[in-house]
């Protein structure tokens, strides 16, 4: 029986990005060793507690490193046996070699990167989801209500709490614009990549001739800040101008008309927030400040991303909100995300919320990879 030549896997370390990854891991493990040596004899000093905590936190790194070293060693030993004169031995070695290579790849490509990527600073943030009709009149508003339903379904699956904070119906049907608070862990991290222009191609329900129309909806996702969230002040009250919307004449007892509309202007940035959905000034004011906080936090996060010096251009840029990010083609039953070039052939699954998760997963992965890339280029 002819033998297939043993396939010698090129050592994973030949890949330069992986080399850097392993080097970083090695450095972290060395730091850990140093930390251990710094522990006092009887573990009595207060800084010991900090050190022990750090050691506990970095334990997975140590485990991964040990695994890598171990697997590499075994691979080397197996390599030697690939040319053994005994056929059975060679077969066994081949088998083992395959398994070990697979383990090593998995370590280097998946496990270690996930351990080294700094945990997201935004992981705990909830989201404020804003949808605005774009081009296309009533059809755009109708599509907006489809998207709104999609996001509410997703939130349901992910066990986030949703509150529709404001919603304006369109005369011809559908929803002109809406703001939804999505509360729950990971809500912002998942939804943030939905920001951008979503485009729909379909025959409108209102269209008699059966022609396909293109219309758009703009989605903006901002981090939702609880009043207690900010560790640092995002703004000072002195910088905010609060205006009420209508002149009230004599006001007070003279008038019982509900004048609850409020407009905030953040003078340094020029951001204005108008709120008139609630029947009380006080409630509109509170909501307006929540939106202001979200917008200011969004600016801060966007700036942080722009300041990162990623050598590889991330496919997902957050700066341009007017970019078309996704097209929903009803005639061909498919949805394409233009940033990562991914097309899903099950449009209804996307609109139900499940298919949407696939997009989110892929985009998040792309983002994480750019974060990793950035980390490698700075260490």
């Amino acid at each position: 029986m002819p033998e297939s030549p043993p396939s010698r896997t090129p050592p994973p370390a030949a890949d330069s990005e992986n080399v850097r990854l392993i080097r970083i891991l090695e450095k972290r493990v060395e730091d850990r060793k140093r930390l251990t040596s710094e522990l006092s004899e009887d573990l009595s000093s207060p800084s010991d507690i900090v050190r022990l905590k750090q050691l506990k936190e970095t334990e997975p790194l140590q485990t991964a490193w040990d695994q890598w070293v171990n697997t590499r060693q075994l691979l080397e030993e197996t390599d030697a046996l690939l040319n053994d004169p005994d056929e059975t031995m060679r077969a066994l070695a081949n088998e083992e070699h395959k398994q070990l290579s697979a383990s090593l790849s998995s370590l280097v490509e998946t496990t270690i990167p996930s351990l080294l990527i700094p945990s997201s600073t935004t992981a705990n943030l909830s989201a404020m989801l804003e949808l605005k009709s774009g081009v296309g009149g009533s059809e755009s508003s109708l599509f907006l209500s489809d998207l709104l339903r999609m996001y509410l379904r997703l939130a349901n699956v992910r066990r986030w709490q949703t509150t529709v904070v404001s919603q304006n119906e369109n005369e011809g049907g559908g929803i002109k614009d809406a703001i939804v608070e999505v509360k729950g862990e990971g809500a912002y991290d998942a939804l943030r990549w939905e920001s951008g222009v979503h485009r729909v191609q379909r025959v409108p329900a209102t269209e008699a001739s059966g022609r396909v129309h293109t219309s758009t909806v703009a989605v903006i996702v901002l981090p939702l800040m609880e009043e207690s969230d900010t560790t640092e002040e995002l703004f000072s009250m002195d910088d905010v101008k609060v205006e009420v919307m209508r002149a009230r004449g004599a006001g007070g007892q003279h008038v019982n008309r509900t004048e609850s509309a409020v407009r905030l202007t953040h003078i340094p940035t020029g951001i204005t927030v108008s709120m008139q959905d609630e029947r009380s000034q006080h409630q509109n004011r509170r909501r307006a400040f929540t939106v202001l906080r979200s917008r200011l936090m969004d600016i801060k996060l966007t700036r942080e991303i722009a300041e990162r010096r990623a050598t590889r251009q991330s496919l997902v840029r957050t700066a341009d909100r007017s970019e078309k990010i996704r097209t929903y083609n009803f005639a061909q039953e498919r949805v394409t995300d233009h940033r990562i070039g991914l097309t899903l052939k099950n449009l209804s699954s996307v609109l139900e919320g499940d298919g949407l998760q696939d997009f989110i997963y892929e985009i998040k992965k792309d983002h994480d990879e750019s974060v990793l890339e950035d980390m490698l280029s700075t260490e």
């Binding site: 304006n168 005369e171 609060v242 009420v244 002149a247 009230r248 004599a250 006001g251 007070g252 007892q253 003279h254 008038v255 019982n256 008309r257 509900t258 004048e259 609850s260 509309a261 008139q276 959905d277 609630e278 029947r279 009380s280 000034q281 006080h282 409630q283």
Partner: protein
């Protein structure tokens, strides 16, 4: 159908206000006949707050003897019933500001008297905003219907009366006529007080005649009309608080005033009531709305 209702409202209120109010009506009911009735009442001039009730949940909690209505006030959602004066946003604004100025501690609870309490909005909002156990409030009104509403609102806000205090702020409504010379003897009030608040009737007669229908046809004239001497209530309050032992040291008095009245009321508080440190607060519309005096 909705567009017909919208145009009826627009004719009465103007486009932006009409759009907002129709939306609030629609949030309140899905029945088209109820919606049409609400719009009809509103177009006739009835205040929105008397038409829009609180959620059905509250219906099961309270027994009410007339039409249901509501008005959000700060974080509270108070009942509004004709003819009791509907809480105003100007009042909401200064009461919230006042809460920030009161040094409150459960160790030494402060006693508050609200004159002309109406719906009870002023003391109830303060009971909600100040730390629990730090406030004992009393609201006086001449109108039995106001007292009933204030009591219902207290129950809605879970604010107990003095007797069943526990560790919560308390509120009690009691009958009294501020203008009567025997007021402090007749009414069940117990000086000394740390805080005195009031939004007394302050509209002069000529202005009363020109009020919008939603005010003059539905809200109690006794809550609005200041009397032949439009500042009579402020004079009465001044003579009340200057009585020996009526106020505790460090007391604060906050009085809402009508437009163009702040200077005169400030003078009354300084000269007739012998108060020091008299400030004037503006409302969100830039009007001088509250006179705040310290003993």
């Amino acid at each position: 159908m909705a567009s017909k209702l919208l145009s009826a409202l627009t004719a009465a209120l103007g486009p932006r206000q009409a759009a907002n109010e129709l939306r609030w009506f629609q949030q309140h009911t899905t029945s088209t006949s109820d919606l049409a009735e609400m719009v009809q009442r509103r177009v006739a001039g009835e205040p929105l707050q008397y038409i829009l009730g609180p959620s059905t949940l509250f219906l099961f909690i309270l027994v009410l003897n007339s039409i249901l209505g509501s008005q959000p006030f700060g974080p509270l959602n108070l009942l509004a019933r004709p003819p009791v004066l509907i809480p105003r946003p100007e009042t909401e604004h200064w009461v919230i500001k006042l809460a920030e100025r009161i040094p409150a501690s459960p160790e030494s609870p402060k006693r508050l008297l609200d004159l002309g309490t109406g719906s009870g909005c002023i003391p109830l909002l303060l009971c909600h905003l100040l730390p629990q156990g730090s406030l004992r409030a009393c609201g006086v009104d001449i109108s039995e219907r106001a007292l009933r509403l204030a009591t219902d609102n207290a129950e809605l806000c879970s604010t107990p009366t003095e007797a069943r205090a526990g560790h919560k702020n308390t509120f009690m409504a009691t009958n009294g006529n501020i203008l009567s010379p025997s007021f402090s003897a007749d009414a069940k009030i117990n000086p000394p007080y740390d805080i005195v608040t009031s939004n007394p009737p302050y509209i002069p007669w000529d202005e009363y005649l020109h009020l919008p229908r939603s005010v003059s046809a539905y809200e109690d004239p006794k809550a609005l009309f200041g009397g032949p001497d439009v500042l009579s209530f402020y004079h009465a309050i001044a003579s009340l608080v200057r009585k020996n032992g009526f106020l505790r040291p460090g007391a604060i008095i906050a009085l809402e005033v009508g437009h163009k009245q702040a200077q005169d009321v400030e003078q009354i508080m300084r000269i007739e009531a012998h108060m020091h440190d008299v400030e004037i607060w503006s409302d969100p519309w830039g009007k001088h709305r509250t006179v705040v005096a310290h003993l």
